[in-house]
């Protein structure tokens, strides 16, 4: 298992229904992935800004960790967990 730590902007399609956020798909460069499952979600702070993290499994089986900044509603890809 290999973890690549990143901090890059990413485009995410998400469902905000019911007061919760659920990532549905993400696009990184020219690649786009469907989110098969949100394995875990947790919240943290960066100063006054609240950050929401999501560990999402994509069809390849890899886990993408996404971060939503609740202050400016921007998404970042913070890590990818790859097999091998």
């Amino acid at each position: 298992m290999r973890v690549e730590r990143l901090n890059e902007p990413i485009r995410v399609r998400a469902d905000f229904a019911g007061g919760t956020v659920t990532p549905l798909a993400l696009a990184r460069g020219t690649q786009s992935f469907r989110v098969l499952r949100v394995n875990a979600r947790w919240a943290d702070r960066q100063g006054k800004e609240r950050l929401h993290y999501f560990a999402c499994t994509v069809p390849s089986g890899d886990v993408y960790e996404l971060c939503l900044n609740a202050h400016d509603l921007t998404w970042r890809l913070t890590s990818v967990m790859l097999e091998g």
Partner: protein, 401 residues
Amino acid sequence: MGYRVLHVDIDAFFASVEQVRDPRLAKRPVIVGNGVIASCSYEARAFGLRAGMSLAEAARLCPQAVVLDGHYPTYRAFAERVYAQVAALSPCLDTYLDECYADLCGTERLHGDPLARARALATAIRDDTGLGVTIGLGPNRMLAKMAGKRTKPAGLGAVTADEADAFLEPLPVGDLLGVGPAHRRELEDMNVRTVADLRRLPRETLAALFGAHGEALYERARGRDSRALTPREVPLSISRETAFHHDTADLDEIEGTLSYLTARACRAARELGIAARLVEVHVGYADGVSERGSAGLRRPTALDPDLEPVAWGLLRRLHRRRVLVRRAGVKLSRFAAAGPSQLDLLEADDGGRSERLVEGLDGVRDRFGDGAVISGRSVHLLGRLERTTHGFVLRTPSLTK
């Protein structure tokens, strides 16, 4: 029922969080740590792996284990969610890194049967976070923790005051809280092997053997633990410690790390509104030798510019061996409430400049995150350590437990 205290312990905490984040790790041996094991999954423990073991030894015993560096802010976020569930049971919690105690006094009429409520709590925590917890119920902190410990992982143990004697007496003496490996060996050398054997020793004998700790053991062997369960508004000490990514003799790196750790400890103290009267510095060498030194302060303070020079002075006094340094740490203690204190006529006064500087830096950190400003000799760590919004990524950060 007599269950006054509920103890919740998160099973294999860091490794379990990693298994929740990535389901491919479920049922696989997982290690979190860098240099040494900070936490390992129960699948890894089946191979004899334990926290504190070196990763080299772990790789020999279990080559297929998945080793991860870990991400401590994430673990803290998960722990807070667990404790939020426990707080629904009782407003009086005493929380640590991976365990907490809740005072159940007066909650029976509200929540009903404590055993049923504990089971429901474990289920709620698993549903919310995916983490397994072991819960213990008892008449005091010690018995609650020991009751749960015997049912790990994902267990529920309960002991009432009436059952305490029967529960404690057959236990190996090393299972009693407060009996570490050194005390266990010493007691076993005297043929004291069970708690029942320990109870035969008079209080005076235990006090002669172990000092004040012997008195505590005398009480604990009888199931008595009078420590109050209150949220710790003022901790006994605040410590920050880490191992270096590589053993080092580079004074810039050592001083920079010590500065960074001191600044983090000071900020923790300022957030609690307390100021330290004692600073202790710890240096661990690559050959296993470690040195500690402490210095009292003329005035209680929680300002980095006041404490950092004291820490550097201690470091220079301690760091005399020509051996690579593996670990460094700082501990603040003997706290007083922060605020105006008696000025010293003979001491140079900077007219509050340090205080205003630190206040300004705290304001920036409050707004943009702890990693937003690097101050003092911590700048030596720039380019040496990975940096996130939380600050530098230390190898084995160890917080006050």
